[in-house]
Symmetry: C2
Subunit: 255 residues, 2 copies
């Protein structure tokens, strides 16, 4: 099967023009098929603040009211996504910006209300990769914003790590998929203050153990859960890394 | 050649949920290949206002500062575009949202500063329809936001009537193109207060004459100039109409 690299970059890279430029310079050098999935970062909260919309987070997840959904649709689907696309085109990379509604790419359902009402947050049901594969085959490079839809006209806000892992899991049926989660650390650290404590490999069993011992920070847990889920679905390699190292293969490899 | 219908809808339709729904109900019934081009309307000005960014218009054209460009990128490329895509998907229409940067679709240059500095406004250089035709062939329905790019990483704000006419002109090389400009009147009116004064046909010669006599309102002039330019490039039919009549062929036909 052909190689497909899926890079997920977080909000901190996207917000900082020089970090974004450096990342895109690396990204365009990746050979073979590739997809970029981006988060939104604090821009959404900043713009929401200026519009008088309060940002509420629970466990690092955004509570998405109707007005906050409009903000993330604007910021993730418009501002961030189109800027990245224009920057990739400037580098000769034929990018296309997509949300989960475009091409009916990612179908989700509104998260059921339990203890917390997350509002318009979507849990992914399925990925429809048919047209996406057509685009890849035409050497088009999809740039995916963390938005999904319910098929009934409702857009939903979905975590970008989840989007990347779900795309990777589905596309593993068609490609040899390499999934890189890029964030602001070199990899998974045993001690968040010490980059020397990075794990080179992490197994699902160790992950369970470290979770029980509470040595893995809560922010890393969804990323790792998504990564292990992708591995189980046949993704060839899942690496937790940063944008400086994404080309070298350094970071924490899930095994 | 196969028939391709390009519908341009203005901001007033896009802003009013019931008008938008009615338009989309009509749009999905159009047989053959189709493209929807949308304006942005006052939402951009409203959001800019809340963000403390002043809206400046000259002859109905928006002066686009860097911060206003961010707003139109958010509103046109994100909010309006993705909502329409999600609504079309709900109607079983496999839509994809595009700006002129996506797929390198519409290349433009920043308008030169003469008497007025329009800021980040783009005059279209060329349309690259290769991947667009590929999508149409897959029965995908493009929804195009009025944004272009300069190929050097800069997004630009471009009038939606111009986008529709430029797409129509280029695609007339490949399809039998029907271009409908939908706005809030039934067609071109000799007396803006009287819908009975609608012209059923308008020739380029008559248009020149009416312009000299100043009986055509200034807002209509760029729409008609774009329409006649598209006709000259081989577009089969150009109709100025409203969304209620777009399926019936009523309105002002350019001849």
């Amino acid at each position: 099967m052909d190689r497909l690299t899926i890079i997920k970059v977080g909000g901190k890279v996207v917000e900082d023009p020089s970090a974004l430029n450096a990342m895109l310079d690396q990204f365009v050098r990746i050979s073979g098929y590739k997809i970029l999935v981006h988060g939104g970062g604090n821009t959404a909260s900043e713009i929401a603040g200026k519009l008088g919309i309060e940002t509420q987070m629970v466990d690092g997840r955004r509570i998405t009211s109707q007005s906050m959904l409009d903000v993330v649709t604007m910021v993730y689907g418009g501002l961030v996504n189109k800027k990245i696309v224009a920057q990739l085109q400037a580098r000769g990379c034929n990018a296309i910006g997509l949300s989960g509604a475009d091409l009916n790419l990612i179908h989700a359902r509104k998260r059921p209300v339990k203890e917390i009402d997350f509002g318009f947050v979507g849990d992914v049901d399925d990925v429809n990769s048919r047209e996406l594969r057509f685009l890849l085959n035409e050497n088009v490079v999809p740039v995916v914003a963390p938005l999904t839809h319910d098929g009934k006209g409702q857009l939903l806000n979905t975590n970008a790590d989840t989007i990347a892992a779900e795309l990777a899991g589905e596309l593993a049926n068609h490609y040899s998929v390499y999934l890189f989660f890029c964030f602001d650390k070199k990899g998974v650290l045993m001690n968040p203050e010490d980059e020397g404590s990075m794990l080179h490999e992490l197994s699902a069993q160790e992950f369970g153990q470290y979770q029980n011992e509470k040595v893995i920070s809560s922010g890393m847990i969804p990323k790792l859960e998504n990564g292990f889920k992708a591995k189980r679905r046949g993704v060839k390699e899942v690496l937790i890394t940063n944008t400086e190292n994404m080309m070298t293969g350094r970071g924490t490899r899930l095994v």
